[in-house]
Amino acid sequence: MDLSSISPVLLIASLMISATPILLAAIGEMVVEKSGVLNLGVEGMMITGAVVGFVAAINSGSPGLGFVAAALAGAALSLSFALLTQVLLSNQVATGLGLTLAGLGLSSLIGKPYEGMKAASLPKLDIPLLGDLPVVGRMLFSHDIMVYFSLLLVLAVWAFLKYTRAGLILRAVGESAESAHALGYKVVQVRVAAIMFGGACAGLGGAYLSLVRVPQWTEGMTAGAGWIALAIVVFASWRAGRVLIGAYLFGGISVLQLNLQAAGMTWGVQYLSMSPYLVTILVLVFISSNRSRMSHDAPANLGQTFHATR
């Protein structure tokens, strides 16, 4: 075993890339859940974003357009979820699972002619001054624009929920839809908007996989990343900053265990790979061990359908 062959600089650089898809999807899902809606279709929206983004990038030659198309596709797919759960009042869990299945099937249908093709990838940003810094430059300032976009998005979501009136309304809808309704807020509209935001974020996360991280389309390429994003939201107990930590932790551990293996360590890598999931379970046990803490963390109306009777 030769741990000195692991370069911390490169490790952190690849960790940031590896975590970006799940970070994007998780921050979107967090907003959805904050509004009181549980959308289990993240995986389906991600993979739809991955394929649509890839197809758009191939046909237009521009990865930027690919990302835009992916966000739109994710949002459009999530709109079907919104229609079913918010207007037709279907069960959110079942509809979300259905959305994942539909997304997986739809994506393989759309992606069939594009298998084995290569799309232009996003260029790495050449940030003057910062990028030339020793160590930190290579580690933090040599990424493509989506990595920074995802970080800004986390910051924006945090500020939106904490400081804006619209953010307060969104949280109110998630905590008590009845009260928000009684105050005259349009619960369904707020939720539909949140769902579409979540869909767009998941689409972006998927496109990051197919346009930057793997850069190609292969069927089923998200391989469960959407489920990890869902776990991260719970792990983060519905807070934007912790979503960032959670995503980097998940991404970091998966990169770290591969690096440790490449450096010759064979013992314990399986345990390392499973540790993010164990941590999520522990967090779940922890937050549900105490009723008051639980009510503090999870949006009170999470997963409940709302129908304005009065």
């Binding site: 991280r213 591969l258 293996q261 010759g264 064979t266």
Partner: protein, 368 residues
């Protein structure tokens, strides 16, 4: 009851009236395939499906093909295989190691249906055969090229799971790289998945970051090649299971990372076995074909490989195809230094099929 009779007689009428010309021929033989990944993986499953399509092409209307993609290894597999058995399949190919127990369990219930399990070793019932390909023959060629091409003297291998098939590949790859370049060092990374493009890319990235410049993969997607392509020609790799020809050149016309490939060609075997079911000569067997049978093929070796190395690789292929050379020919020691094969001794299939040790010179342990 009445309705059913009505339908049946209607069907009989139709058969008599419309299908008369086809009467000369029996029911088509139904060959079914269970895939572990999507056909679009561009690798393992894609090649099995190519094999299935070759069967269709060979026998035309006499055969009917059915398949199911992305079947998880586990309880679901048994359900899928049972469903296929009930749907009238005459022969069922289960194309992943993890379908082993499910295949045997279902085979016990359907003694009249033939089952063919890929890469496994359990044949609990007379209607179960196993088949595999000697991928390690192909790995020998890739190893030779890797040893010659590496500049950092560090070559990498992305393993899927620590099962004999992978370990044969790793040992063969290393032995032949070592012969070509005594200074070579092998880095093995286990992905613990057959198909997860993001993880495969991460594994390739981890190795590249640590100075590996030739990467072979035993996982199913093209992602490791995609990752190698980002290094602007400094890192090369091989097509795995399928040719992965898209990576021969980059978009800007420069040579791409893929310098050769190891292709699984299941067509000859599938045609042979489906044919055997048709003429009633199917018998249980454990097939293990390689280059001589045309099951393991090396795809085009690109211009990036120097002509002399290419010639050596082709000679190696020719020798293995003719049966003159076995990739595991002694003297070979095990990792701990104990003797495995004496001078000139050739590994027997039993040891290979259950291979659970590295050869001398590979660092690291096989996880269990």
């Amino acid at each position: 009851m009445i309705r059913r009779t009505l339908l049946a007689s209607a069907a009989a009428g139709l058969t008599l009236g419309l299908a008369a010309p086809a009467m000369a021929q029996d029911d088509p033989t139904k060959a079914c395939f269970v895939y572990v990944g999507p056909i679009g993986d561009g690798g393992w499953t894609y090649q099995h499906h190519e094999g299935a399509m070759a069967v269709k092409e060979e026998f035309g209307d006499k055969v009917e093909i059915a398949y199911q993609e992305s079947v998880p290894e586990g309880a679901d597999a048994e359900r899928v295989i049972t469903q296929m058995a009930l749907s009238g399949c005459d022969i069922i190919f289960t194309t992943s190691f993890g379908f082993m127990d499910a295949t045997n369990n279902v085979a016990a219930k359907f003694p009249d249906i033939k089952f063919e399990h890929a890469t496994g070793y359990k044949r609990d019932h007379p209607n179960v055969s196993t088949y595999d390909a000697r991928f390690y023959e192909g790995r020998a060629v890739l190893g030779h090229i890797a040893g010659k091409m590496t500049k950092t003297n560090k070559i990498g291998y992305i393993g899927s799971f620590p099962i004999p098939e992978n370990i044969q590949g790793i040992n063969s790859y290393y032995l032949h790289a070592k012969k070509a370049n005594p200074d070579v060092e092998l880095v093995v990374t286990w992905a613990y998945t057959w198909f997860d493009p993001a993880k495969e890319a991460d594994a390739a990235r981890a190795m590249i970051d640590q100075g590996v410049d030739v990467i072979a993969a035993h996982t199913d997607s093209t992602a490791p090649l995609g990752e190698a392509a980002k290094e602007g020609g400094k890192v090369i790799g091989f097509g795995q299971a399928s040719d992965m020809a898209a990576f021969k050149t980059n978009d800007d016309g420069t040579p791409g990372p893929r310098v050769a490939s190891i292709i699984d060609n299941w067509a000859p075997y599938y045609i042979d076995r489906v044919g055997a079911v048709m003429d009633g000569t199917w018998e249980q067997q454990a097939s293990w074909g390689g280059m001589p049978e045309g099951e393991v093929v090396i795809g085009e070796i690109t211009e990036a490989v120097p002509a002399d190395v290419k010639a050596e690789a082709e000679e190696l292929i020719a020798k293995m195809t003719s049966g003159e050379y076995h990739p595991f020919t002694g003297p070979i020691n095990k990792q701990d230094g104990s003797a495995w094969l004496a001078e000139g001794e050739v590994a027997d299939d039993g040891t290979l099929a259950g291979m659970d040790f590295y050869v001398e010179g590979i660092t690291g342990e096989i996880p269990n």
